[in-house]
């Protein structure tokens, strides 16, 4: 069976790849494009470690086939910082020590960025509900929530 040829936009740049029909977007990112910032946790859409956005919509890349992103625009953790300049969310995660082992962190950051794009001034409850699909077994979430709220405040110019 011939591989599928896909052209898409990845973190703002044109990209093309060949993939098996069964390969997930997560496998394509990690194994074909060597972008290993996106992590695999459960592989069944429960943990959110593989979160990316496709055409601005937050989703688990383990639940998307590589073949499905033909013509789409994908954002991963690798596109979050501008060169050496960290995104405010990334900086606040460091300041608040909102990570320990780090496996969930890229997914949490992508999900939090997606929240702040829609709602620049979320309540703590809204942050907790939005991030319900991102499991973290280290932090107990408190520092993650504080970092997101602090980043939101800074991004609003507060």
């Amino acid at each position: 069976m011939a591989k599928v040829h896909v052209t898409a936009t990845l973190n703002g740049n044109a990209v093309e790849f060949l993939c098996e029909t069964r390969q997930t977007l997560l496998q394509v990112l990690r194994d074909e494009l060597q972008l290993t910032g996106t992590k695999e946790g459960c592989g069944t859409g429960d943990c959110g470690a593989c979160s990316v956005t496709v055409d601005g919509r937050l989703m688990c890349s383990c639940l998307v086939l590589g073949a499905e992103v033909q013509g789409k625009s994908i954002q991963t953790i690798e596109g979050m910082a501008e060169g050496d300049k960290l995104h405010p969310l990334q900086r606040k995660f460091l300041e608040h020590a909102a990570l320990q082992c780090g496996i969930c962190t890229p997914g949490v950051l992508i999900a939090a960025k997606s929240l702040l794009e829609r709602n620049p001034d979320p309540t703590e409850e809204q942050v907790r509900y939005w991030l319900a699909g991102n499991l973290c077994r280290c932090t107990g979430y408190q520092k993650i929530v504080e970092a997101v709220l602090d980043a939101a405040s800074e991004m609003r110019g507060g």
Binding site: T21, T24, G45, D46, G48, L58, C60, L63, A132
Partner: protein
């Protein structure tokens, strides 16, 4: 495995009905890709229907909403006019999985995966939603309650696709609500679900009602005898008590790790009563 992404319903139907071996429709993939990964399903052909305009659009025409079976739940939730007209349908769409899962999961997939615990299904049944089905013999319509026949089984023939959902025009003073019970607040599967849709007259008397319950039988049930307990009443405490009893009487659940039979029967009545109270409040607010 072949992957195809046709641009028309006709092409999708031709692929599915002409397939040798196992063919599956791919919408959001939040059930299908997990079943494939787990080895429960090994299709020879996937037909990705997200390139088909009817299946991915939301159209409002003089009070009637038609939304594609492949519209992701988040798009339904974010559609202001739809959310205002059918808050109970949105309750269901907004309870599935996480934000990530709702970014992909669709009402069409939720219906055709035919889990008895599907959250959008009781809400859509209560709403009186009709699906438009396209297949090798053309197009037909069917009420949502006629699609699932049991866990993982549907009444669809080979090559048939649920293309879109039609929500009827709403009379004034109408409200709907869907509630489910889970032991936590997010990321779980319904132990029990209840959808209520009702319409009041000018005096506040309930004139029309539909009641649907999920996760308490082999499929989501429409319960006309429960709706009858509300019609002709002001949805007062006495009517709500009779509603709960009628809902509990209609349950035929299984025992499983999420709840015992006895527990589900009791909680179904409670969920229906609470959903009716929310639907009532919403109906009053629209007047």
């Amino acid at each position: 495995m072949r992957y195809e992404a046709p641009r028309t319903l006709e092409a999708a139907v031709a692929l599915l009905s002409g397939a040798n071996g196992q063919a599956r429709v791919l919408a959001g993939g939040t059930d299908l890709l997990i079943q494939m990964r787990g080895g429960r399903l090994d299709p020879d052909l996937l037909v990705d229907i997200k390139g088909i305009p009817e299946m991915t659009s939301i159209v409002a025409e003089s009070g009637v909403f038609r939304f594609g079976a492949a519209v992701p739940c988040m798009e339904l939730v974010e559609h202001k006019a739809l959310a205002k007209a059918w808050p109970g349908v949105i309750d269901g769409a907004n309870l599935i999985g996480s934000i990530q899962v709702r970014g992909r999961a669709t009402a069409g997939g939720n219906l055709c995966n035919a889990s008895p615990a599907a959250d959008t299904v009781p809400a859509l049944i209560a709403a009186g939603a009709v699906v438009s089905i396209v297949g090798p013999r053309g197009r037909r319509e069917a009420p949502v309650e006629d699609i699932a026949t049991g866990p993982g089984r549907t009444s669809l023939a080979k090559g048939e696709i649920v293309a879109s959902f039609l929500l009827p025009r709403r009379p004034p003073r109408s409200g709907d609500a869907y509630l489910r019970f889970i032991p936590r607040t997010e990321m779980d599967i319904a132990v029990v679900g209840a959808g209520i849709n009702l319409t009041l007259d000018e005096a506040g008397v309930c004139r029309q009602a539909r009641v649907s319950i999920g996760a308490v039988a082999e499929r989501a049930l429409l319960v006309p005898e429960a709706a009858a307990t509300l019609i002709g009443t002001k949805v007062d405490a006495e009517a709500l008590k009779r509603l709960a009893a009628a809902v509990s009487a209609a349950c035929r659940p299984i025992d499983d790790k999420r709840g015992t039979k006895e527990y589900r029967i009791k909680v179904a009545g409670v969920m229906a009563r609470r959903a009716a109270e929310i639907a009532l409040e919403r109906a009053r607010r629209t007047s």
